[in-house]
Symmetry: C2
Subunit: 322 residues, 2 copies
């Protein structure tokens, strides 16, 4: 079968010019275009090769699949991912799944058909068996299967760090507050780090957890505040949950940080204008984004990655709640 | 020249199947694929027609060009734009310009080369003369030139509404606080509405403005607080500016809403967990997004739009600051 080079030679132009004609690029002169088209016809240069060119061109697209761009953690992540992709000449397709498994699968199918070069995905649903992975994928925050590299903050160390900071602030009876998802995710390590550090230090603690799908804040917080074991230190596995706790605490006459020290996770607040300014375990969002892009591009190039999971160090950011 | 229909007839398949072969879709059986390729070769069905097909396929992409997805107003807007596009079978390419004119132009060029079907753009720079508009564009919040339809909240009514609400809350001496951009934008109508309503009601007011590029909060707020005309009602042209004012006011011993009532613009707060909960003129973000998408798709279809500017009604949302 004739190649694009054969067309170029016959037309007396460069390969780039043939490619521009195929892509209908406006910069090609009409005479040149005619020569190229004539060569294409003469050589019977067939569309499936053209298709390959288009495929190559289209493969400068990476899809970002996440629950909702509207969430501040995801929008910060998307900001840095787009920036990192752009500097490598890639464009970002944004897909909001709303956290719904069906919509996630629909997007995976669509992205496959549209031959994106790769996917960066954040999903908390169990769609693993239903996704096939001939497209390179980097997952953020959850394990996805052996083919899929995961980039995440160091959730385990974050959980330990929270206990250390609560103790440093004077807390003696701790509570862990968390929402869970039906599938194993790196986020669960926040709890494990919390438990291990509390046990290691010989500190009392309780765990309050609820599945995110069934989460109903009234009974969840009622159980916590009517508990006879009065906590003076709380680690919530997200900033929003920490803020909800603080809001509810007020209605029970409990003040933060006077009565209870509170630490969240994420670091979503990007200014000091709204209160409470949460003490929190800050996710290294920019670094996670840049590493995810770097690893994805390595995968696209066919490189083998050294690790399955890349855990990026977190820091404690002190606010007004400890 | 032969058409895709001729290929389909010769191969004894439907036009859809030919299209799938050209697009290398995995669902086509090898025998069918062979038949189609053979028909393509026999008929000399040429790549520029194939290119057209690819172009059609690629043209299911719309680019969203905005200063930063990280800003809560833009991320909410992006969320609804993606949702509306998806339900029409379009995908969204996200481009953060950082508000820099060079990066905006770079993206416009890139998008043109990549033949997106259309662009939804939010830019506050004067790049009008340097952008050509053979791609359908919908602009949000600013006028862009006659070819570009603008979707915006009803900024003028928003400004009037702010005055009415401040007066209703008991304010008698008003101040307008705003950042401006170098180019005329719909946002300026917030000030005009404020002025017209204040004058109409015979109420004292002052205007404090600074160009966003030179904005330095210290001198800006110092001028306001050291002013001898003690304001008791403030309308800030964004929620962030309103929050900055409230934060600074504290350090001057001024309490909101006791001493001064404050109204912002945007409605970026999506929960009641962080304080102050701003009284604000809420932009109809979802409606703006859906209308922008609807109008863009009409433009892509070649329809003439009835208006140059579509202004969507705003509402007052009461918080803790009036």
């Amino acid at each position: 079968m004739p190649s694009i080079k054969d067309v170029a030679v016959l037309a007396g132009v460069g390969v780039g010019t043939v490619s521009r004609v195929i892509n209908n690029h406006p910069s090609v002169k009409p005479e040149t275009k005619e020569k190229v088209i004539s060569a294409i016809q003469q050589l019977n240069y067939v569309p499936n090769q053209v298709a390959r060119n288009f495929k190559m061109q289209k493969s400068k697209m990476v899809a970002l699949l996440l629950p909702s761009i509207w969430h501040p953690f995801f929008s910060e992540l998307a900001y840095y991912i787009e920036d990192a992709l752009d500097s490598e000449g890639f464009k970002l397709i944004l897909c909001n799944s709303g956290g719904k498994p069906d919509k996630e699968l629909y997007y995976f199918d669509m992205l496959k058909q549209n031959k994106v070069a790769g996917i960066i995905g954040i999903t908390y649903n169990d769609i693993e068996d239903r996704v096939d992975t001939d497209i390179p994928i980097i997952s953020i925050d959850r394990h996805f299967g052996k083919e899929v590299t995961c980039v995440t903050s160091d959730n385990y160390e974050g959980g330990r760090m929270a206990v250390k900071e609560l103790v440093k602030a004077g807390a003696k009876k701790l509570a862990y507050l968390g929402t869970t998802s039906t599938v194993a995710s790196e986020v669960q390590l926040r709890k494990q780090g919390f438990i291990d550090e509390a046990q290691g230090q010989g500190i009392q603690y309780q765990i309050f957890e609820e599945n995110a799908d069934n989460f109903d804040d009234e009974p969840f917080f009622e159980a916590i505040f009517k508990n006879e074991n009065h906590h003076d230190g709380v680690f919530a596995n997200s900033d929003l949950l920490a803020a909800q706790y603080i809001d509810k605490a007020k209605s029970y006459g409990i003040n933060v940080p006077e009565d209870v020290k509170v630490i969240g996770y994420d670091g979503i607040q990007d200014n000091k204008l709204f209160h409470p300014i949460l003490s929190t375990i800050r996710q290294p969002v920019e670094e996670m984004a840049r590493i995810a892009v770097k690893l994805l591009l390595q995968k696209i190039e066919g490189e083998e990655l050294e690790q399955d999971t890349y855990r990026i160090a977190v820091i404690f950011r002190e606010g007004e709640t400890t």
